[in-house]
């Protein structure tokens, strides 16, 4: 394993694939089939590489923190390197990305009919940049990947989306750009702090971890980073881009958006915002937790009253991702393991829910819940799979959703039980909105004649949804398969952050300190 730069191969494979696709002449769409097969093959090989990374990863506590490390100088004058490496947390998110991309591509085979080549190229570029986000150890490189993710997603929504795609795409990009611009300023600021302490610029994350950053600087930089991340999560009240983006995005876009992109926000908080600025993080943690429990209840309540099923699933993501932020805010072993696990679980189950919504929408060209009803009679197989994903989404014990939520609540309970009392309401509400959706769409008699002769799952659809349902159950039965590799990584992060005390901010004094800081 040591010989091959597997990590770079994983990131580069989709890029090389998209270059290959450029060479396929397909102006008239006659080679759509070839393009689709080629793209799927590339994404499957990439998934294979992420699995090889998993197989080669040493999860023992004594193993090096970051493995498969590669480092090449890029812009030496500013200490910017191509510097990648993964710990257990990154590894799991890479595997998630590798797993979901081929499935998302498969969902496009019937729903995306125009500009198939361009679509495929964007999907592969998207995959490469997401893999980069989760592997970068140079914080500037991270930012490049982070922002690069936006571009293909912008086009995916804007070109292949539904009726109001332009509004949604612009809203999506403005929202997320607003966050990341501030983060860029903070990143440059960080390097500048490093220079002022050590005499040289550096964007090396592991070196930046060791910096003693003054309190006032931490305060502002933490806010700048965190804003970028919680917009991405998205955390209440920065969530309103998500329902629009989801509703307008084509199915594969929604799957990747919910399945992987939202996790970039959670990952950013865990990897960057908290360990880089531990004192500020601990100071702001109660605020984050407050927002997250609001998100849990609020997202669930708003999901409950949605007439559009895609929007319902989108708002349910707001609720579920609220759990993730709650676990991160607690920043102890259970909370953080739970948050990481919940990101994987949510990626699988919500990705699956979007696939199903897509399949229904492909057949009926509507996503209004009131248009459906009684589908169990005509589509028993799709109904069965939907039931599994529904149960996974509402956190039935023994399924993936439960493990994450339980650990998060346990971690948060050890930290501050008050948050958990509110968060646990999500357990009730998720059952309300998901089962109501299930009842309205699948139970009852068929009243709308358009539904009378819908086809059940095709072979291709089985290939998409079968693995997702199986993994939803498997993750609930043997969660340690996923928790164990992440444990050393999470332990190191917890130790790093919990070694600090929260900032003591006395309002007037703090302001003057910051002013002094800025003036200096």
């Amino acid at each position: 394993m040591n010989g091959l730069p597997l990590l770079s191969i994983a990131i580069l494979l989709p890029i090389i694939g998209s270059v290959l696709l450029l060479l396929v002449p397909n102006r008239d769409g006659s080679k759509d089939g070839l393009v689709r097969n080629l793209t799927l093959a590339i994404s499957l090989v990439t998934f294979g590489v992420t699995l090889m990374l998993w197989a080669g990863f040493d999860p023992s506590a004594g193993a090096p923190a970051f493995q498969f490390v590669e480092r090449h100088a890029w812009i030496p004058a500013f200490g910017i390197d191509y510097y990648v490496g993964i710990d257990g947390l990154s590894l799991m998110l890479l595997v998630l990305t590798g797993f979901l991309t081929p499935l998302a591509l498969l969902t496009s085979w019937e729903s995306v009919e125009k500009h198939v080549k361009e679509f495929s190229i964007f999907m592969l570029v998207l995959e490469a940049s997401m893999l980069g986000v989760f592997s970068a150890l140079d914080i500037f490189l991270f930012y490049i990947f982070w922002d690069f993710v936006l571009i293909p997603m912008y086009f995916l929504i804007g070109i292949w989306g539904y009726d109001q795609r332009i509004y949604a795409a612009v809203k999506f990009i403005l929202y997320t750009m607003a966050g990341s611009v501030l983060m860029l300023v903070a990143i440059i600021g960080l390097s500048w702090v490093h220079q002022s302490v050590t005499g040289e610029y550096s964007f090396d994350l592991l070196k930046l971890y060791e910096l003693q950053i003054p309190a006032g600087t931490q305060y502002w930089m933490f806010l700048a980073f965190t804003l970028a991340f919680i917009i991405k999560v998205p955390l209440f009240p920065f969530h309103t881009w998500l329902p629009d983006a989801h509703v307008q995005a084509p199915t594969p876009g929604s799957v990747i958006l919910a399945g992987v992109m939202l996790k970039m926000g959670g990952y950013g908080l865990i990897r960057f915002a908290f360990p880089l600025f531990p004192e500020a993080a601990l100071y702001f943690a109660p605020l984050l937790a407050t927002l997250s429990v609001i998100a849990i209840v609020y997202g669930a309540l708003v999901a409950m009253v949605q007439p559009d099923m895609k929007k319902l699933v989108a708002y349910s993501s707001v609720s579920h991702m609220g759990f993730v932020v709650l676990g991160i805010a607690a920043f102890n072993m259970q909370g953080l393991q739970g948050a990481s696990y919940q990101m994987l679980a949510h990626g699988v189950s919500t990705g699956g829910l979007f696939c199903i919504v897509g399949m229904l929408s492909d057949r009926r060209h509507t996503r209004q819940i009131s248009e459906f009803g009684g589908l169990k009679t005509v589509m028993p197989r799709l109904t069965a799979v939907m039931l599994i994903l529904t149960l996974s989404s509402i956190g039935l014990p023994g399924m993936n959703g439960f493990i994450g939520e339980f650990l998060i609540m346990l971690g948060a309970f050890k930290w501050d039980p008050r948050f958990v009392v509110v968060a646990a309401l999500g357990v009730i509400l998720s059952a309300v909105y998901m089962l109501w959706l299930f009842q309205r769409v699948f139970y009852g008699k068929i009243t709308n004649s358009h539904n009378a002769d819908l086809k059940d799952l095709s072979f291709r659809e089985w290939a998409i949804i079968g693995p997702l349902a199986a993994v939803s159950i498997g993750m609930g039965v043997v969660p340690n398969l996923f928790l164990k590799p992440m444990e050393p990584a999470i332990q190191r992060l917890v130790d790093r952050v919990q070694a600090h005390q929260p900032l003591v901010v006395e309002k007037p004094a703090a302001t003057s300190a910051i002013v002094a800081e800025v003036a200096r």
Binding site: Q334, P380, G398, V420, N480, E487
Partner: protein, 673 residues
């Protein structure tokens, strides 16, 4: 070995869920029943070897694998058989097998697809129920706890095309989730307090703690657990789902909503007996809620006209009895009643199923009557079970109910005892109202039965007026359960009647924290258990023999009085109930409409949440305020750029003018400074 008991039904589920629709009914039904019978035999063998152990160390443990690890929290997927779970697995697999066999005939007119689906759900239910009682820690129990809730959901909504069925299914799940919310918080508190979720470890640790005279942590934990139990076991305030659950096929009502799942809350208190004993305040609440539920449900049961709903309210009421016992700390008595109730209530439900089957779906007792001579097997088994539940001496219900009432009186709760006796009167009355209206008197069914009434979702053929009694598989189950309804009480004959209360003695070690068999590995608790291994002394049973006998006399009289009252009102003088219904129409309507509890819940909880979410949160906050601000910012930027764009129009003259104006302004500034 132990794991095979739940895994057998699970295997049955897998086969029927994946291939059930393509297999003939004989195979699906036969397989589902066979795995249950096998599981029952295995359970008997396991309990047999358990019984061979010395009483204080009766435990069989099996750890499957480490389930969840996160930091210092680690949890095994582990099973444990002890005296308490032994009783439960025998009830589940034994009565479960009978109900599976019964169902092969009862569900026979369903399509192959529905038939396979039904049996796959039923097997899955048994798997989860066995996990619930065999789990050696709270979280494995919780897997079973929510799993049975899921199966209950699926089976209540079995006739999913009916709106009322899918509504009832959703209601059951959501109401249960409200209870689970509390249960989950209790679980978290347990981890924080005891750093473990293993029942034995918790009990041993709790034993060393003082009994909480004032409300403390253990009181809070147990109270939250009890709230969980009110959901699953249909107690005030969360009982509202159970009557609606009768939308499911009748065997489901017998197995899930009478004999097994709804008793999970009672079992859970028994499983955590040591904790509850350390929380007298919670026990008090449990007792009062139990007694109140018993009475409330009994009064509603008195006026209902749907045969299954009467039985449903009766179940709620009897569960209240069990909680009354648990609240008295008489855990053995509660489990005893759980067991006897499983027999006679399953028999009653299956009997009602046979009636409905014979009448092609009719459930309204006002359209029955005189069925005695048409369906004798159903009649006699039904009457035996009714006598048993009424508390007539010599049958199962008498012994268990009496033990509860005696314990209540003995603990100085005369008022609760009075409530219990009153409920007992109600029980006997509404049961025999049901017997009389269904089986005695004039025949009122003609028209409905002849037309092949389809209210139940059955696809029966129209049938001549000749009524069929239960076919062989159904009759078999009914007869076995009727025998059980007579004999089940004899495992717990009280000392006052010269018995030995064998069941009580068998269960006793399970309610105390002993670890004689398995030394506890956690250091600080290691040495404390030795004196517990000595047999405890008999709690002076003889002293109270006289009291117990007189209380028995009272409740026997009450049982006969209830039966007599029912015979008078609904057989001899049928004008009296009608007259009372008009004279006290307010009360009658109140009872008929179940005290309007559903309506009140809807008005004060469900509707406000819907309206606030729709108009306040979504259309108000999300769309107007947050998005308004975002779009507003967007419009502001584009508005400003429209103005700025005017400046940049490419006309040299405009630029020249601007430069000139700028120069003048700067010069002016310098002059006037």
């Amino acid at each position: 070995m132990l794991a095979l008991i739940p895994l057998l039904p699970f295997a049955g589920f897998l086969v029927n869920a994946t291939m059930g629709r393509r297999l003939p009914k004989a195979v699906t039904g036969g397989l589902a029943s066979a795995v249950m019978v096998l599981s029952f035999l295995l359970a008997v063998m396991q309990v047999w070897s358990l019984a061979a152990m010395p009483p204080e160390s009766r435990q069989i443990n099996q750890t499957l694998f480490t389930w969840i690890t996160a930091g210092d929290f680690s949890l095994d997927l582990a099973l444990r058989l002890d005296a308490l779970s032994a009783v439960m697995i025998l009830v589940i697999t034994g009565i479960g097998s009978l109900i599976h066999i019964y169902s092969t005939a009862y569900m026979h007119e369903e399509t192959d697809e529905a038939f396979g689906r039904f049996f796959s759900y039923l097997n899955l239910f048994c798997f989860f129920m066995l996990m619930l009682v065999l789990g050696s820690n709270v979280l494995v129990m919780f897997v079973g706890w929510e799993g049975v809730g899921l199966c209950s959901y699926l089976l209540i909504g079995f006739y999913y095309e009916k709106k009322s069925a899918s509504d009832a299914a959703k209601k059951a799940f959501v109401v249960n989730r409200i209870g689970d919310f509390a249960f989950l918080l209790a679980t978290l508190l347990l981890v924080v307090t005891f750093n473990s979720l293993d029942f034995t470890t918790i009990a041993l640790a709790a034993k060393e703690m003082p009994v909480e005279v004032t409300f403390g942590t253990i009181s809070l934990i147990t109270l939250l657990m009890f709230i969980g139990a009110t959901g699953k076991s249909a107690q005030i305030p969360l009982y509202v789902w159970l009557p609606d659950a009768m939308e499911g096929p009748t065997p489901v009502s017998a197995l899930i909503h009478a004999a097994t799942m709804v008793t999970a809350g009672v079992y859970m208190i028994g499983r955590n007996a040591v904790l509850f004993e350390h929380a007298p305040i919670t026990l008090q609440i449990v007792a009062v809620v139990g007694a109140a539920t018993a009475l409330l449900a009994g009064t509603i049961g008195l006026v209902q006209n749907d045969i299954k709903r009467v039985l449903a309210y009766s179940t709620v009421s009897q569960l209240g009895y069990m909680f009354l016992a648990m609240g008295m700390g008489a855990f053995g008595a509660g489990i005893f009643h759980l067991m006897t109730h499983a027999f006679f209530k399953a028999c009653l439900f299956l009997g009602s199923g046979a009636v409905i089957h014979a009448l092609h779906g009719e459930q309204d007792i006002r359209k029955m009557g005189g069925l005695k001579k048409h369906i004798p097997i159903t009649y006699w088994t039904f009457v035996i079970a009714a006598v048993a539940i009424a508390g007539v001496p010599g049958l199962a219900g008498f012994f268990s109910k009496d033990e509860i009432l005696f314990e209540t009186f003995l603990h100085g709760h005369q008022i609760l005892w009075g409530v219990g006796v009153l409920t007992s009167l109600l029980t006997a009355t509404y049961m025999f109202r049901l017997v009389h209206l269904t089986f005695h008197g004039e025949e009122r069914f003609g028209a409905a039965a002849a037309h092949g009434h389809d209210a139940h979702g059955h696809a029966h053929q129209p049938h001549p007026s000749h009524l069929h009694d239960a076919p062989a598989p159904m009759a078999f189950a009914l007869i076995v359960l009727a025998i059980g309804s007579v004999l089940a009480g004899y495992v717990g004959v009280p000392h006052a009647l010269g018995g030995h209360n064998n069941l009580g003695a068998w269960l006793e070690p399970a309610f105390q924290a002993t670890n004689c068999g398995q030394p506890v590995t956690t250091g600080e608790l290691a040495g404390i258990a030795l004196e517990d291994c000595l047999p405890g002394e008999e709690a002076g049973a003889e002293d109270h023999a006289a009291l117990e006998l007189s209380l028995m006399a009272v409740s026997s009289l009450v049982a006969f009085a209830g039966i007599g009252l029912a015979t008078l009102l609904w057989l001899k003088r049928k004008d009296i109930p009608a007259q009372m219904a008009t004279q006290f129409s307010g009360v009658h309507q109140l009872l008929l409409n179940k005290y309007y509890v559903d309506e009140v819940y809807d008005a004060i909880i469900v509707q406000p949440i819907k309206v606030v979410s729709q108009e306040g949160l979504w259309r108000g906050f999300d769309v107007k305020i947050v998005d308004g601000a975002v779009n507003g910012a967007g419009y502001f930027v584009s508005g400003v750029s429209i103005i700025l764009r005017l400046l940049q129009n490419g006309s040299v003259k405009t630029y020249a003018a601007a430069i000139f104006a700028g120069a003048v302004t700067i010069l002016a500034y310098y002059f006037w400074r």
